[in-house]
């Protein structure tokens, strides 16, 4: 821990292990990820890996956190390039970035948005990474509501507020009324629902050009959450 040189080579080793493990996710999935196989791929003994990860689950956790962060960073940087005032375009950029990342890293997508790994419990500290991409979307909605004045139906709001975990939602979107926040959450699940179906093969036979379909979906969801619509 003292030597910066050692710390650097150590970090490099950790990166190499994770990269090898990531490659292995592609052929076999999370359940089949094996420390021995990773070590074999690196021309090392399996016991060597225990210098870097206490056990298999710890490696998995690292991969999951990396995936969340990677998705988060991609979404953030894409959305940051857009003029703050153009909320529709920000929405579009964020959604496109998410899909792009998902298609570029289908196995990491499956790792975080697919079936939970049986017997694996994600540690609490993964939450920060997990909410990064969500945060981008939430901020767009919040900026929109902070700018425009909305006539919100109070009765409608109550129903939505009951359904939502408002304490948590208000941290991310303080200026967003419950009804809009709920629609935002629906849009969120809609995006990932489409991507999961697309990546997991459930759209075969019904969709020919996913790109075009997704553009349509972006427009639909941005309408749904009321982006750019003065009410």
């Amino acid at each position: 821990m003292e030597s910066p040189k050692r710390a650097a080579t150590r970090a490099a080793s950790v990166e190499r292990i994770k990269a090898t493990a990531r490659a292995q996710l592609a052929c076999g999935g999370a359940a089949a990820l094996s420390l021995r196989e990773v070590a074999r791929e690196m021309d090392q003994t399996s016991s060597a890996l225990y210098r870097y990860f206490a056990n298999r689950d710890e490696l998995l956790t690292a991969l999951i956190v990396d995936a969340y962060n990677d998705l988060g960073v991609c979404t953030e940087t894409a959305e940051r390039k857009i003029d703050r005032g153009d909320l529709r375009s920000r929405w579009r950029a964020a959604c496109r970035a998410i899909r792009q990342w998902a298609h570029a890293h289908p196995h990491e997508y499956a790792l975080i948005f697919g079936t939970p790994i049986p017997g694996y419990e994600a540690p609490a500290f993964t939450v920060a990474a997990a909410t990064r991409a969500t945060g981008v979307i939430a901020r767009i909605l919040n900026d929109d509501c902070a700018q425009t004045t909305r006539k919100t139906n109070e009765r409608d709001d109550d129903e939505a507020a009951r359904a939502l975990e408002m304490s948590g939602v208000q941290v991310l979107m303080p200026d967003v009324p419950a009804s809009v926040a709920l629609r935002g959450l629906f849009a969120w699940t809609q995006i990932f629902g489409f991507l999961s179906f697309e990546l997991f093969g459930h759209l075969e036979g019904s969709i020919r050009r996913g790109d075009d379909a997704f553009e349509k979906l972006i427009e639909q969801t941005s309408h749904q959450v009321g982006l750019g619509v003065e009410q």
Copy 2:
């Protein structure tokens, strides 16, 4: 194959094996499903199972087909009870049935809508079972379009038609214009996106009462696909 008595006990054995395997999906997931463990649970030797399934994948296929059929039957029977003319209610009934089934069988839901099992390729004959629930939704949309006259935007239709695999879509929904079919498909992915997030734990901290949220989602999606709205 000749004796009906033997065929019956044989079918019963198959059912017992599948039931035991299903129970095992709950603790460990599809990847961890093991013939040896199933046999152990049944107080039999593992080799005995090879009388009924040629290998592990064949058992998995049977479970998948059963899950699809079970979901299909649940959706069909719930939707059939509703007055044919009340399309909104039919939509509601179908969606509710899907969610109910998913919550009652989370592991079978994960089996068919979660991460594809690595190395497993579903045989072609599973498609029939897989499209059963889809068919219910498609029929509602088709009935709606057959009844109401819609002013469809032609230009809009063309874009949607390009995105869709029209040959397949038109078999299920011959009377539905492409733009509506695409919105229907989005609604479809929306429903399952919500359910996946709900069952896989991605809504923890943002949604308190899933039932209420889902009811709102049903209303939203039924509006989206234009149900009961004369245009």
